[in-house]
């Protein structure tokens, strides 16, 4: 009879499982999870391991000194990275523009005139239409008074305000004109330039300035100039108010960095080239043809070349290996849209351009698990062994899920890579690691929604949404209503919130809930469903998915609130039974590796 602990150090959590082995029988006593301390594979992990062990032993009123031996996992020696690059050409024009959605602009229609700051009133001449630019130090009453008093001899056709006072000014004007307010950087607006402003009717969006020919009409542009303002028009689509200022000095910087070619090197030495312009589908098709890859490179001095350069840089920093020895063994390319900054935008406006998100994976040297084992042994005075390949242990553990039998495949969706392993009736095992998992999903959510904060994208990936519609109820993304007896904190009123287990988190950007849900689901489907099929094809006999009867999802991503269902749905077409694991019928998808380590302990030493 002996007490054995299995310890699985993951990127984010350390999981342990305690079992009692009597003869050939195992009785599982307890398990625990603790956040991984330090970077996975370093001795910094030890405090986390010790805490988790103490917690698990404490649950059965034992201490770590009662353990006979501890078995550590040998983690998969792969790391992944993600990057994003726009593939359409970037045009930089010299026109300036402002496009935004102030909640309350005023007046309706378009106006064309010369910009002038209120300080320079004396420079105005008669018979010339002006658009007056006013800083927030001028109150609404003053502004209205100035405009009304000029009414006789100088034509003010529109107003650009820095303060949020458009309606207040408009209500006090004798002659009504369109007013755009909440323009923060009015200092960037030059004087005496032709400008057009437009305010949409309430409930509608602007029409003239979101149309290249509309801008051409208002500002009198020729064909070439019109072509150059197209990105401006495009970025103004859907706005409630906009300003376009003509500042062309005949100087146009057009910077077109080609998207570039991607070179896939097969293990057989053949090299395949594909232009990134062709899109993700073409890239993935070629990667299929190339088979197992020995490396991937991008064309020098192109967008994709720079992107792979950066990825290899960051991977070499992470692994401590030289950049030359980093070989990318798998890529996943995904079509997406990314916001691109428009030169000339006065408020950081962007337009959405076609982009490709790429996850790449490299094989690294084995992580120094032995060092951890030695140090842990010294600290706890218990025998510690590095035992078993992670995927094999996860398979063993996954077999404890009720309703499974061999042949069985497991999918472990992590942060950087999606791993699959398959065991047939005879106990033969095959495994694979595919680039792209949780982190790529986060990146896609972040870029498509144009979020500044990566952390917010991470949260949006994890939690379902709701919209707080009154002080006492919210509408969940499923359409259900939830009511509360106590009033909701006013700071959440009218906002889209994420429903974390113990609290609500406000979504800071003003994006409709439906749009976020759509982007989130799309990103998960594009990455996980695609990758799981890719991984299973590789471990399945002859690449035939129909030969896999059971797929068990394990690891952190299996706890996602919608990914397992997406996979169950899409794998059912191959007649695969796929679902979230339930290790030892109690642990859910967690603890598979730790459980497998304890189980393999019966046949291993003693």
């Amino acid at each position: 009879m002996s007490l054995v602990a299995g310890v699985d150090i993951g990127n984010s959590t350390t999981e342990v499982c305690i079992g009692r082995i009597e003869g050939g029988d195992i009785r599982f006593l307890s398990s625990a999870t603790h956040a991984t301390t330090g970077i996975k594979g370093t001795v910094d992990n030890i405090p986390g391991i010790v805490s988790a062990l103490e917690e698990a032993m404490g649950k059965v009123r034992l201490s770590t000194s009662d353990l006979e031996y501890i078995r550590l996992n040998e983690s998969a020696p792969v790391i992944g990275d993600t990057a994003m690059e726009t593939i359409t050409e970037t045009i930089i024009t010299d026109s300036s523009m402002i496009g935004h959605n102030p909640s309350t602009p005023a007046g309706v229609g378009t106006a064309v005139g010369y910009t002038i700051h209120i300080e320079n009133l004396s420079k105005m001449v008669a018979d010339r239409p002006y658009i007056l630019v006013v800083g927030k130090e001028y109150g609404y009453e003053k502004v209205a008074e100035v405009v009304n008093s000029l009414g006789g001899y100088i034509k003010i056709v529109g107003l650009i305000l820095q303060a949020d006072e458009a309606v207040l000014v408009w209500n006090r004007l004798d002659k009504k004109i369109p007013i755009v307010d909440e323009v923060l950087r009015i200092d960037k607006i030059p004087d005496e330039k032709m400008a057009a402003i437009e305010v949409a009717m309430s409930g509608q969006v602007i029409r003239q300035l979101s149309n290249p020919y509309g801008i051409a009409t208002l500002l009198g542009l020729n064909a070439e100039e019109t072509r150059l303002v197209t990105p401006i028009a495009k970025s103004l689509i859907g706005k409630k108010s906009a300003v376009v200022i003509k500042t062309l000095h005949g100087y146009i910087a057009e910077n077109v960095l080609p998207a570039g070619e991607l070179y896939l090197k097969g293990e057989d030495g053949k090299e395949y080239a594909v232009n990134v312009d062709a899109g993700a589908e073409k890239i993935m098709a070629l990667s299929n043809v190339a088979g197992r890859l020995s490396d991937v490179q991008g064309q020098k001095n192109t967008n994709v070349g720079n992107m792979f350069d950066r990825m290899k840089d960051s991977m070499s920093r992470l692994t401590g290996e030289t950049k030359e020895s980093i070989h990318i063994t798998d890529v996943l390319a995904i079509d997406t849209l990314a916001p691109v900054q428009i030169a000339g935008a006065l408020a950081g406006e962007t337009c959405m351009e076609k982009a490709v998100g790429i996850a790449a994976m490299v094989k690294t040297q084995q992580l120094p698990m032995r060092k951890i084992a030695e140090e842990l042994q010294r600290q706890l005075n218990v025998d510690v062994a590095v035992a078993g390949v992670e995927a094999a242990m996860a398979l063993l553990g996954a077999c404890t899920t009720p309703g499974t039998r061999l042949p069985l495949a497991i999918i472990d969706m992590g942060g950087g890579s999606t791993d699959a392993a398959m065991m047939d009736d005879a106990g033969n095992m095959r495994m694979t690691h595919k680039a792209g998992a949780g982190e790529l999903v986060t990146l896609l959510i972040q870029t498509e929604l144009g979020l500044k904060d990566r952390n917010e994208a991470e949260l949006l990936k994890k939690y379902p949404l709701a919209k707080v519609e009154s002080l006492y109820h919210m509408r969940l993304e499923s359409g259900e209503m939830q009511f509360f007896a106590e009033s909701i904190d006013p700071r959440y009123y009218g906002c889209v919130v994420m429903l974390a287990p113990d609290r609500m988190i406000r979504v800071e950007e003003d994006i409709p809930m439906e749009r976020i849900v759509e982007v989130r689901r799309d990103a998960k489907r594009k990455v996980f469903v695609k990758n799981v099929v890719r991984a299973l094809q590789e471990v399945a006999e002859n690449g035939d998915l129909k030969r896999i009867p059971n797929v068990v999802l394990v690891g952190g991503s299996a706890e996602d609130f919608e990914v397992p269902e997406m996979l169950t749905e899409s794998l059912s077409q191959y007649r695969i039974v796929c679902g979230r694991g339930n290790i030892r019928a109690t642990e859910g998808p967690r603890n598979a590796v730790a459980t497998g380590l304890v189980m393999s302990g019966t046949s291993a030493k003693r």
Binding site: T104, D164, E165, S470, L471, S487, P490, G494
Partner: protein, 124 residues
Amino acid sequence: MVAKKPEIVLLTMQAGEEFIKKICAGIEEEGLLYRCEAFSPAERTNISAGALAYRAAMESTLGVGIGVCGDKATLTHESLGETKALCSAVSDEAISVQDTWTVVTPKMLGQNAARFVKKQPFLS
């Protein structure tokens, strides 16, 4: 019987004109209707901005009321009862406040009253 318009009600007591004007400007900017009344109690009582706001909210067909008492203003909704409120403001904007979430500028208080009716998130 006069038909009641959908308007935000302000009840004021011993409050500065400038202070009230800023709050009203906030409501006007958001395009809502409002009614502003001086509150004169039958007997001399000590009434807080919060209590005044609740009284105003009960009078408003929108259920949204603002109480302005001296240099303090409070915004509330009738469903919150007398003890809770949505946010408040002080007339002297120079006074530093600790909780920037519930204490806003007078104009923002007016805007928040209107935004509450329009079901838009509060400014802070």
